[in-house]
């Protein structure tokens, strides 16, 4: 979710410094809005409530807004204190604003927000007519696999949410643990799946699905049962990096392209989580940012990721954990209405994904705790040069890049300028003395050797 990532914090602080803060309310906006008839710049324009893009759930015919509200981390009364209660007032404002602007899908779970999310979400939603919103929650029985515990969890969701039916109910986090055996223990052996199917028949669950992370065999297994179970929807992780490169990020993950295709061929709609890859796709390096801004100067970097996630037609809704009004408004603008990515844009985003994966910035803050290296390396100097080259677009994704020659020269000449030859990455012997000193937990020897391998590729002009 957006709000889980560290970068989100920096974004938040950025906003604070700008004086926008998290507390920009509808009222406040209306108050300082320019007189009618005056057009505002697109980047701050009021999202048009009539323009939200909707998708339809095939089995129930629900008309679901493409922007779904992830309720994983609502704003807290004291943002610095992780144990402070949720700011119900602010949650209400956000929910009101979202519903006013066409959002009707709210995704929560019994375990979210220290177990407080369902209650807070329910409190905000009950102020609206029940038919105005769809509520999604999950069976998060990841610890205790007993029927009793699962039943209690199921029942409790109704209480917390203060509803008498649940629109979208998910088997939470399929693919965790040992994969298929864990799925069987959680939902089959204890009869919970049969029970939930009965509940769907009874109308207390309108749509039944599951959310998937991890072991692909569990995903395939549940889909193989589709003829009996008839899944109404499935929640998957999808963004332009995970589309084709999921395993490069995390070896347990599977490409979203595959997941989406498997679902689509069974006519099962996909609910999308992690459209921003934990917030990381909201801010990219200078080179990638500039390329996007050249095409759409007034739109946020995050908007590209949302447009990507919303483009596949069988995507039902894209979840975003929006703690701040700023994010909510930005996302509303993106989807009111959705402008699907063009072929060229998809090619560009795929290229962006490759660059992003190949050259993630090294999180070095130049604190110098690792120094002095006993073998004389200038560790922060090497990392700073590398990061500078990434941000200036001087790290090439491929030796076939149009810009390769120039970037190569800038990287190599700049390297010798920033770090004397005797102190460069090639000198790292991997003794590991530095590792424990790094407060950022950077795997210093591995990173140095990775940079060294890149330098060698440049020097030897090997194709990559």
């Amino acid at each position: 979710m957006q709000t889980k990532d560290k970068k989100e914090i920096s974004r938040r602080e950025f906003l604070k410094r700008l004086g926008l803060g998290g507390v920009v309310t509808t009222a406040a906006l209306a108050g300082c809005a320019p007189r009618k008839g005056e057009d505002r710049p697109a980047s701050v324009a009021e999202p048009d409530p009539a323009q939200m893009t909707y998708r339809v759930t095939p089995t129930t015919g629900d008309r679901v807004s493409l922007l779904g509200y992830g309720c994983m981390r609502w704003p807290q009364v004291d943002p610095r204190d992780r144990n402070s209660p949720m700011d119900q007032e602010q949650v209400n404002r956000l929910v009101d604003y979202a519903i006013e602007h066409g959002v009707n899908y709210f995704d929560t779970a019994p375990v979210y927000g220290r177990g407080l999310s369902e209650r807070v979400t329910g409190n905000a939603l009950k102020r609206h007519p029940r038919e105005k919103f769809y509520i999604a929650t999950k069976l998060s029985n990841t610890r205790d696999f007993s029927r009793e515990a699962a039943m209690a969890m199921y029942r409790k969701s109704f209480e917390e949410l203060q509803v008498d039916y649940i629109d979208y109910y998910l088997l939470h986090s399929i693919g965790g643990g040992e994969g298929i055996p864990t799925v069987r223990k959680r939902f089959f052996d204890n009869g919970m799946l049969d029970f939930l199917l009965e509940e769907r028949k009874a109308g207390r669950i309108r749509n039944l699905g599951f959310s998937y992370h991890g072991d692909i065999r569990a995903f395939d297994y549940l889909l193989s049962l589709h003829d009996e179970i008839r899944w109404d929807f499935v929640q998957i992780q999808l963004n332009y990096v995970d589309w084709k490169h999921a395993a490069e990020q995390n070896s347990r993950n599977t490409n979203a392209e595959y997941l989406y295709a498997e679902l689509s061929k069974r006519n099962i709609p996909s609910v999308i989580m992690e459209p921003l890859l934990g917030g990381r796709l909201a801010s990219l390096n200078h080179h990638l940012t500039e390329r996007m801004q050249r095409l759409r100067p007034e739109e946020s970097i995050a908007s590209w990721a949302f447009r990507f996630a919303g483009t596949p037609p069988q995507v039902l809704t894209v979840l975003s954990g929006m703690t701040y009004m700023e994010h909510l408004q930005d996302n509303l603008r993106t989807y009111s209405p959705l402008e699907p990515c063009t072929e060229e844009e998809l090619v560009m985003l795929e290229d962006t994904a490759k660059l992003y994966l190949r050259y993630p910035l090294i999180k070095c803050t130049n604190c110098q705790y690792c120094m002095p290296c006993p073998y004389g390396l200038d560790i922060p100097g090497i990392f700073l040069h590398y990061n500078k080259c990434i941000n200036e677009g001087n790290v090439s994704a491929s030796s076939g890049d149009a810009d390769y020659r120039r970037a190569r020269r800038a990287f190599l000449v700049g390297y010798d300028r920033s770090v004397p030859k005797l102190r460069q990455a090639a000198r790292c012997i991997g003794c590991g003395e530095c590792v424990e000193h790094c407060p950022q937990s950077i795997k210093i020897p591995q990173q140095l050797q990775r940079i060294d391998a890149y330098v060698e590729a440049l020097k030897q002009e090997t194709e990559f």
């Binding site: 002095p372 290296c373 010798d416 300028r417 005797l422 102190r423 012997i429 003794c431 030897q460 002009e461």
Partner: protein, 495 residues
């Protein structure tokens, strides 16, 4: 100035400037366009058995005389420069002298014997093109690099990557001394007496002198016009015009065309001689032009001084561990570049022009110190190693002492083998994890193996895979002596 002389001067300056650049350049760019200039030098062409070039040069000399010495030979053109400086102080300063045939032939025979007999590399001391190369490589290239480094510092200030700094280092005392002595001796002889060196010592001059006796075109004295003033002889830098007998010694004439201008009577012309007898001349003196190069040298010297100061300033380090300089291990067998085939082949074919040394971008090649291979290149890995992508020395060698080689061939040619020195090795002695040699070996010849007595893994070399590039030696953290070093091979081998 007559048209011949104008053309000769212009072409000679072009050749000279291009060859100068060829030796100064360290980026490899100049060689791509100017490499042929080294290949058309007579001695390298002979050693490379470059029949086409040799035939062409012989024909050139048979038709025009020793134009080679006036235009193509950089040492010859350099001497003209010195002679011109000398002329400024004194006009009409030369005089006819009898050919020192015994000395000439004697030196020539000695040279041939040294060359053919393969007795060391002493013959290279006399080779004109190589002498020039050594002067530029040892004396001027460091200045050139210094200026470059200054520009690089300026470029860095403006975030430009147009220039990059290079390491300036003196490649060896013997080489430096030889270059300096050659410069002083040749320069002084030229300043004092024009082409004395070319017409007494230089073996190439002697060889071409034999041929140019039969030259088709030559300066001819028209005795009907000559008033016997002797002006031509007093301005002939080759001292080959005998005004009394109206003859010109074509074995020594370098067809500079100066005499054509010096004769007030217009008695000397460049043509086919009609009659055998009549050959006279009057020399010429010249004072104009030639300033720009001197000015250039003055400027470069100033810049070099500034650069040295700059380099000192940049050497300052902050809180970093000190790094000792590497010392060269004592090698039983010197290492020579892939393409040289063997030390023997290199020694026999190399004229020690040091073009390879000036071109080596990795600080690997340097002049050998021993008498037998004096000034010829050999390798050492204290400053860098023979990188897999580089074939620069083989590309530039005009004599095929280092034969052309592709990257792939080079990477499969064994020029040496790595030798492990347990007492310097960190994992073996200090129990520190290190696999830098194994990780950087381009052929995967080094493997980290368990020690029989336990402890950290130590490197083991697969001799059949090791090509002797020196990556292991150069990148070994042990200092000043590496824990793994390369021993040369007598004969290179393919793996």
């Amino acid at each position: 100035m007559n048209i011949y002389r104008k053309c000769r001067t212009a072409v000679a300056l072009l050749f000279f400037a291009a060859l100068l650049l060829l030796f100064l350049d360290f980026s490899g760019v100049a060689h791509r366009f100017l490499g042929w200039l080294a290949a058309v030098q007579l001695l390298p062409a002979i050693l490379a058995v470059n029949v086409g070039v040799v035939v062409a040069l012989v024909l050139l000399t048979l038709i025009f005389g020793r134009l080679y010495c006036s235009v193509i030979c950089p040492l010859g053109v350099m001497q003209d420069g010195f002679a011109r400086l000398g002329l400024r102080s004194k006009k009409n300063r030369y005089a006819y002298s009898k050919p020192k045939t015994v000395l000439r032939v004697g030196v020539f025979v000695l040279f041939v014997v040294l060359l053919v007999g393969g007795v060391g590399s002493l013959f290279t001391l006399l080779a004109p093109y190589s002498a020039f190369g050594r002067i530029v490589t040892n004396l001027l290239q460091p200045i050139w690099m210094g200026v470059n480094n200054l520009l690089a510092a300026v470029a860095a200030h403006f975030d430009s990557y147009a220039f990059y700094a290079v390491e300036v280092w003196w490649r060896g005392a013997a080489s430096l001394a030889t270059a300096l002595v050659t410069l002083v001796v040749v320069g002084w002889l030229a300043w004092r007496g024009g082409r004395t060196w070319c017409n007494t010592i230089c073996p190439v001059g002697t060889l071409l002198g034999f041929i140019s006796r039969f030259a088709l075109l030559r300066p001819v004295i028209d005795t009907t016009k000559c008033n016997g003033c002797g002006r031509c002889a007093r301005n002939c830098k080759s001292a080959c015009i005998d005004p009394k007998h109206h003859t010109i010694d074509m074995s020594r004439c370098v067809v500079c065309f100066d005499c054509l201008d010096s004769c007030k009577q217009g008695a000397i012309s460049y043509r086919r001689p009609k009659v055998q007898s009549a050959e006279v001349a009057e020399p010429v003196s010249e004072k104009r032009g030639g300033m720009s190069r001197r000015a250039f040298l003055a400027v470069t010297a100033t810049l070099a001084a500034t650069t040295a100061a700059e380099a000192k300033r940049q050497k300052v380090d902050g809180g970093l561990a000190t790094i000792l300089d590497k010392k060269a291990p004592h090698r039983q067998q010197p290492i020579v570049p892939a393409g040289a085939l063997s030390l023997r082949h290199l020694t026999q074919h190399c004229t020690a022009c040091q073009l390879c040394i000036s071109a080596c971008p990795n600080g690997v090649l340097r002049p050998a110190q021993g008498v037998m291979r004096l000034l010829q290149p050999e390798m050492g890995y204290e400053r860098g190693y023979c990188r897999p992508e580089c074939t620069r020395c083989a590309d530039v060698c005009p004599t095929n002492a280092i034969q052309p080689i592709t990257r792939e061939e080079k990477s499969s040619t064994r020029i040496g083998r790595a030798v492990w020195v347990r007492e310097n090795c960190l994992p073996a002695t200090e129990g520190v994890q290190c696999d830098n040699c194994a990780r950087h070996c381009p052929t995967g010849a080094i493997r980290m193996v368990e020690q029989a007595e336990g402890g950290r893994k130590i490197p083991a070399v697969d001799r059949m895979k090791c090509i002797g590039c020196g990556a292991c030696e150069h990148l070994c953290p042990a200092r000043p002596f590496s824990a793994i070093y390369v021993e040369g091979l007598d004969e290179h081998e393919q793996i």
